[in-house]
C-alpha cells in the first residue's frame, strides 16, 4: 500500500514537472506561432504566395506596443498588475493592419494587376522583409528590450512612496547619478504572477510544481478568443464566406460577384492585426528583439504547411504541433525518468534527444517530413 502511495506521488511529480517545463511553455509559444501562422495561411490561401515579411510584420507590431509602453512609463504611469503592452495592443493591431494595407496598395497590388508568377511576389515580399527589418531596427534598435525594462527617472518626477506601495519595494531603487549629482529612481515594473513554483510546492506539498503568470494566461486566453472569433467570422459572415470561396476557387468566386479588392483588403487587415497580437504577446513573454521575430518565420511556415495551406484550423493545429515538438524533442527527461523508474535504475546522464540549440531545426525537420510524405498537410490544404 505504501509503495503504491509513493509511486503515485512520483507520478504526480513527473506530471507536474512535465506541465511546468513542457506543456505550459509549449502552449504559450504555440499560441503565438498559431496566431502568426493564421496570418501566413490566409495570405497563402488568398494571395497565393509565401509571405516572407511576416516575422518582421510581427516585430513591427511588437515595436509599436513597446513604444506605447515606453511613452506611458515616460510620464511615470505604471499599469501594474496589467501589462502595459496589453493596453496598447489594440492600437498596435490597428496600426500594423494599416501598415499591411499600405504595403499592399503601394507594392503588392501592382504584381497582382500584372498577374506575375508567385515566385516574383515572394521575391517582392523578400524586399518588404528587408524594408521592415531596417525600419524596426532604425526606430527601436536591434537589441533585446524587455517590455518591463528597468527605466530611470529623476526622483522629483513622481510620488515614489505611492509607487513603491503599488509595485512592491523590490521594483524600485533610489540612486544618485554621479554625473549630474541628482537623485534618480530606477523602476523595473514587475510581472503579475498568480503563483510561483515555490508557492505551489509549499501549498500542495509536492517536490515539483508549476507557476502561472498573467502574461502566459492572457496569451492563451487571447489566442483562443481570436481563434473562436475568426472561426465565427469565416463560417457565418458574408465576408468570411466570400474569403473562403475566393481561396477555394478564384475564378468561380469572381464569377459569382465577389469583390476581390474587398477580400484582399480584409485578408491584410486580419493578417496584420494577428501579426501584431502574436508579436506583442511573444515580446511580453520573452522580450522584444527584431532578429528573433525574423527567425520566427521558419517555425511559422512550418506550422502553416504542416496544417495545410489555406486552412485556418490547420494553422492553429500546426502552431501547437510545432511548438510541442520543438520543446518536447529538445527537453531533458532525466527527472521524469527518475520519478517513474524504480530507484535502482537511477539515471545519471542526460536524457535528451537533441540539444536545445537545435530547437529551430526541429520545426524544419517536421516541415521536411510533411513536405515529403503529405505535401497537402494534415488538413488537406492547397498545394501551391
Amino acid at each position: 500500500m505504501v509503495e503504491i502511495m509513493e509511486y503515485s506521488t512520483d507520478l504526480l511529480n513527473a506530471l507536474l514537472w512535465s506541465f511546468n517545463f513542457l506543456i505550459l511553455p509549449a502552449i504559450t509559444y504555440g499560441s503565438t506561432l498559431a496566431l502568426g501562422a493564421l496570418g501566413v495561411t490566409l495570405i497563402f490561401g488568398i494571395l497565393r504566395f509565401a509571405h516572407f515579411a511576416h516575422g518582421d510584420m510581427m516585430a513591427f507590431g511588437a515595436m509599436l506596443s513597446l513604444i506605447g509602453v515606453e511613452l506611458l512609463n515616460h510620464f511615470g504611469i505604471f499599469t501594474y498588475p496589467i501589462p502595459a503592452g496589453l493596453i496598447f495592443l489594440p492600437i498596435a493591431m490597428v496600426l500594423t493592419a494599416l501598415l499591411a494595407i499600405v504595403l499592399d496598395k503601394t507594392i503588392y497590388q501592382y504584381y497582382r494587376s500584372i498577374k506575375s508568377p508567385p515566385v516574383v511576389v515572394v521575391m517582392v515580399s523578400m524586399g518588404v522583409m528587408f524594408l521592415l527589418n531596417g525600419l524596426t531596427r532604425l526606430i527601436k534598435g536591434p537589441e533585446l528590450t524587455p517590455f518591463n525594462e528597468t527605466r530611470t527617472f529623476p526622483a522629483h518626477q513622481f510620488d515614489v512612496e505611492q509607487l513603491m506601495e503599488r509595485l512592491g519595494e523590490r521594483a524600485i531603487q533610489i540612486k544618485t547619478d554621479f554625473s549630474t549629482n541628482q537623485e534618480v529612481v530606477r523602476v523595473s515594473e514587475p510581472e503579475f504572477v498568480f503563483f510561483t513554483v515555490r508557492q505551489f510546492k509549499e501549498a500542495v506539498g509536492t517536490s515539483e510544481g508549476f507557476g502561472l503568470d498573467l502574461i502566459q494566461l492572457s496569451t492563451v486566453v487571447l489566442a483562443v478568443t481570436i481563434f473562436a472569433a475568426l472561426y465565427w467570422f469565416l463560417t457565418y459572415t458574408w465576408t468570411g464566406k466570400s474569403m473562403r470561396a475566393y481561396s477555394d476557387n478564384e475564378d468561380l468566386a469572381l464569377l459569382s460577384g465577389i469583390n476581390p479588392k474587398r477580400v484582399v483588403f480584409v485578408t491584410w487587415l486580419i493578417a496584420g492585426s494577428l501579426a501584431a497580437v502574436a508579436g506583442t504577446m511573444y515580446g511580453l513573454d520573452k522580450g522584444y528583439k527584431p532578429f528573433t521575430y525574423f527567425q520566427m518565420i521558419l517555425p511559422i511556415f512550418a506550422a502553416t504547411i504542416v496544417g495545410g495551406i489555406g486552412r485556418p484550423q490547420g494553422a492553429i493545429l500546426g502552431g501547437y504541433l510545432v511548438a510541442f515538438s520543438e520543446i518536447m524533442i529538445t527537453a531533458n527527461y532525466k527527472k521524469v525518468a527518475n520519478y517513474l523508474l524504480p530507484e535502482k535504475l537511477e539515471i545519471a546522464s542526460n536524457l535528451q534527444l537533441l540539444g536545445t540549440e537545435y530547437k529551430f531545426s526541429v520545426s524544419f525537420l517536421i516541415l521536411l517530413l510533411v513536405l515529403l510524405f503529405r505535401p497537402t498537410g494534415l488538413f488537406r490544404g492547397k498545394v501551391l
Binding site: 509565401a50 521575391m123 527589418n133 532604425l138 534598435g141 525574423f294 531545426s361 524544419f364
Partner: protein, 463 residues
Amino acid sequence: MKQLRYQASLAVLIVLIIVTVGVQGWTVALSVLTVGLISGVMALGLNIQWGYAGQFNAGVMGFSAIGAIACVLVSMPWVTATMQNGLETLSQAPDGYEQTISMLKHDIPRRLTAEKNIGIAWLLGAASAIAAWALNRTLRHRVRTIWRVILVLVVLIIGLALFRGRFDSAIRIIESTGYGDNSKYLGGMQLPILFAWFIGGCLAAIAAWMIGKIALGLRSDYLAIATLGISEIVIALLKNEGWLTRGVLNVTGLPSPVPAVKALQVAPYSLDVKTSLIVNKLAFLGLVVMLTVLFLWLAHRAWHSPWGRMMRAIRDNEEAAAAMGKDVVFRHRQVFIFGSFFLGVGGAMLATLVLQFEPAGYQPLRFTFLIWVMVIVGGSGNNIGSIVGGLLIWFLWVQAEPAASWLFYVLGTIVLPENSALAGTLLERAPQMRTLVMGLVLLIVLRFAPGGLLPESLQRRLK
C-alpha cells in the same frame, strides 16, 4: 542599347572605385572590390540555379558556410599533432613548463583514443543506418507495414544508442583538451588552402545533391522555405558541433594563399607597412579575379552551349521539355549541384579573406537574401550581370552605413536642436540603414526594371 548598358555599368563601377579610393583610401577600396567580386561569384552560382533553371534557392547561407568549414577541415593543423609537436619542443627546455608537459602527456593518449572512438562511433552509426535501409528493402512486401516500421525503428534506435555511447564521451575529451590558440576541436589536415577552396565547392555540391534529393521536387515557394530551413539546420550544426568546427569559439588564423602582411615586411620582400598592406590585398584580389574570370568563362560557355539551351527550355516549359525526352528531374538536380559548387567556393574564399571561421556570423539577411538582391539587381539569367550586381550591391551595403552616418550627422547638427537625444540615437542606429536601403533597391528594381540592370541576353522568359 544592349552595349550601352554594359558600358554604363562598367563606367559606374569604375567611378565608384575611384571615389572610394579618393575618400577612403586604397585599402578600403581593395577590400570592397575583393568582397564584391567574391559575392559576385556567389551571385553567379545562384544565377546558375535561378537564371538557368528557375530554382528558388534560399539556402545560400548554408552552402557558403559549408565552403567555409571546408577551409578549416582541410587547411588547419591537426590539433593532436600540434600537441605532440608542442610536447617535443617543451621537453627540450622543460624549465617552468612542467605543468604543461604533464598535462600534454596526460591528454595526448586520451585524445588519440577519443579520435579512434569517434571513428568507430560513426562506423557503427553508418552500419545501423545501412542495416535499417536493407531491412526496409527486404521486408517491403513480405511483412505488414507496421511491423516493418517497428523493426526499422528498433534497429535505428539501437544504432543511435551505440553511436551515442562512444561518441558523447569522446567529443567531451576532444572539446576539453588542446594546446595553443586553436584547440579543443579535432583540427584539419594541413593541406594548401587553394585545395580547400576546391573541396569547399565539392562539399557544397555533395550537400546540394542530398538536399536536391529531398527538396527539388517541391514547387518554387516550398523549395525556398525548405532550403531556408536546411541552411538554418546547417548553421545550427556548425555552431554546436564544437568537436568538428570549434563552434562558437571560432577558428582563427586560417592560412592565406597570399603572403601575409607581416611576411611582406621582412626579407625577401622588405616592403614598408603601407605598401605591404596594399600588396597583400592586391595579391588576394588578383587571385579572386583569376577565379572569377574562370568561373565566368565556364558559366558563359554553359549558357551558350546546347546544355544551356536545354536548361532554358526546361525552365520555360517543363512539360514540353519532358515531352521532348529531357530528363527534367535529373537536369534540375544537376544544375542545383553546379550552382552550389560556386556558392561553396565563394563561401570558402570569404572565410579565407577574413582568415577566420565564425559560425555565429552567418545570418540569412547577409548571406542569403543579400546575394539574392545581387542576382535580381544584376539581372537574372545574365552571368556578367551577377558579377556587376555583386560588386554594386556590396558597395551599397558597405557604404550605406557611412553615408547614413554622415546624413544623420548633418541632420543632427542642422535640423535638430543641439545635443538632443534623438541625434545621438540616430547616429547610433545608422548601420541599420543598410537593410532599409537594400529593401528599397530590391523593390525598385523589381517594380521598374524586372530584368535587372543587365537583362538576360537571349530570349526573355515567357510570361
